[in-house]
Subunit: 327 residues, 2 copies
Amino acid sequence: MFEELIQKLQKFDTVGVFSHIRPDGDCIGAQVAACLWLEKNGINAIGFNDDNVPLNLQWLAEFYPIQEPNEKALNKCDAFLVLDGNSPKRFGSYSDYIQDYPKPSFMVDHHPDPHDGFDLSISVEEASSTCELIFHLFLQNDVSQVDEKVAKALYTGILTDTGSLQYDSVTPETMNIASELLRLGEFRPNEVAEKVFSTKSLNQLHLLSKAMSTIELFEDNQIAIMYVTKEMLEETNTTNDDCEGFVAYPLSVAGIKAAILFKALGDGVKMSLRSKSNDVDVNKWARKVGGGGHKKASGAWHPGPLEKAIEDLVEIGAEQLVSVDKS
Amino acid sequence: MFEELIQKLQKFDTVGVFSHIRPDGDCIGAQVAACLWLEKNGINAIGFNDDNVPLNLQWLAEFYPIQEPNEKALNKCDAFLVLDGNSPKRFGSYSDYIQDYPKPSFMVDHHPDPHDGFDLSISVEEASSTCELIFHLFLQNDVSQVDEKVAKALYTGILTDTGSLQYDSVTPETMNIASELLRLGEFRPNEVAEKVFSTKSLNQLHLLSKAMSTIELFEDNQIAIMYVTKEMLEETNTTNDDCEGFVAYPLSVAGIKAAILFKALGDGVKMSLRSKSNDVDVNKWARKVGGGGHKKASGAWHPGPLEKAIEDLVEIGAEQLVSVDKS
């Protein structure tokens, strides 16, 4: 799968590696591992992201630095590798630069409906994570290059993009890769999981406590919603980043098919949609309001106010549930 | 590892299989899988437990029935196999019967300090779960007997006893077994995880919301505590069973070494102790008040009241933290 990409990458002196804006465990893990792969194979790598690395992932950025892009640094690069996003706009302020500049750009990703403007794309929607794909970059070339840093970076992405190895994207192969990463990196899962998940502040848990009290069910208990407001953040001295992972709570209600987290934090309402039914495609649902993502996990934005966003999204969901029932 | 046990079991017509009282995913998963193994190998099996199977595990009891023990049913058995507990008292009202009766009794377990009164014991403290051990029963004999039911039962125990494959008890081998179970059983992790974890009621989430607002830190932010009171249960129309897994929340606070969940539900205070530091052994800690378990996960009981239980347990924890600092 990676043979052609490896051949192409080996021709360059310096490759700029982008992870997507508003970064998460999978894009940072893939970026750090890809940069280490390049360095191990004699190619300079520069990691770029417009946004700061989230607090719970900063230990990964110690394995390989990630900097804000600027023209001077980008000019040093002979090619670009973009990870865990399939359209240039996912890569922030220099997306035009990546798209229009005559330097080659390559993509590795697992999201649906990839943009086709890259010189080479490895796009595998079935993969649990971009980190699972990047493991194959090592496997294809020299798996002994998977050291502790690479292994922990890749494990982070697999862990965070699969809800701790619980999603239906996890195949026996994903689990074998997780096993190999533990073996090659000589670590135990808690060493990564505690860094990634057990880094909550008291304030964040108090925010979660408030958010959980808002969970409500709609459409004959098929849709669960939860919301977070700007006031809740102020009361608990927290920020938007503290809401990471909150959507798992409405999703955990027995018997529901889909859940939505609404975040009314000032600029309209941001929404995270999740499905736990093969019948409910939240990608379609999110696209109706200009968002998108995966069948089981998507994002969208609504101008607000909160009550209107909830009403509209539940209504769209209700239509989809009806069409499921009729089919 | 299982050769001798298999030879012994094959001599009997009927084997009574016990899971421990107040059953969890690991003991029920192991029990169901062991009963299926016996049946597949021409031996009658009867599953026993004093207590009801928890709601989120009742789908497993459809794979193989588990009944309350009584003399008549016990008399049918030629031998007993006790699972996921290492002392007869863990198996409830008929523990004397198992212990004193001249019928052979066998144990498979992964808890420390096993009782030595069994005719044969397979006690592997390093194993992630009893289900991981029971997989070896199949591996030793005929791994093709791992069908969907067996695979899902064993996967349940591995999942629930490792905090969703996150604990330091998870080795590359554990992860390989998880992969094999997904392959042999032809399922994806969400099919088990959603049954086991995503079966919360609105009331339970509202109880969790209340409990999370009680999280406090002690001893220079090294110990986190959380509590649940009888009043909270009444206000949210919930029961003790709804507190399952709550201890993960105080444990998720960044930088702490140990967490305790206190449940003041009437008959004194029940406590779940968890460590996420190699330096802090909560088994030692729990033993000081007559409880016990594993280094990283133990249980205990205090006569109360709640405030006194918190004071005493934090004080014992503080002593242990001091002795760690001195060592």
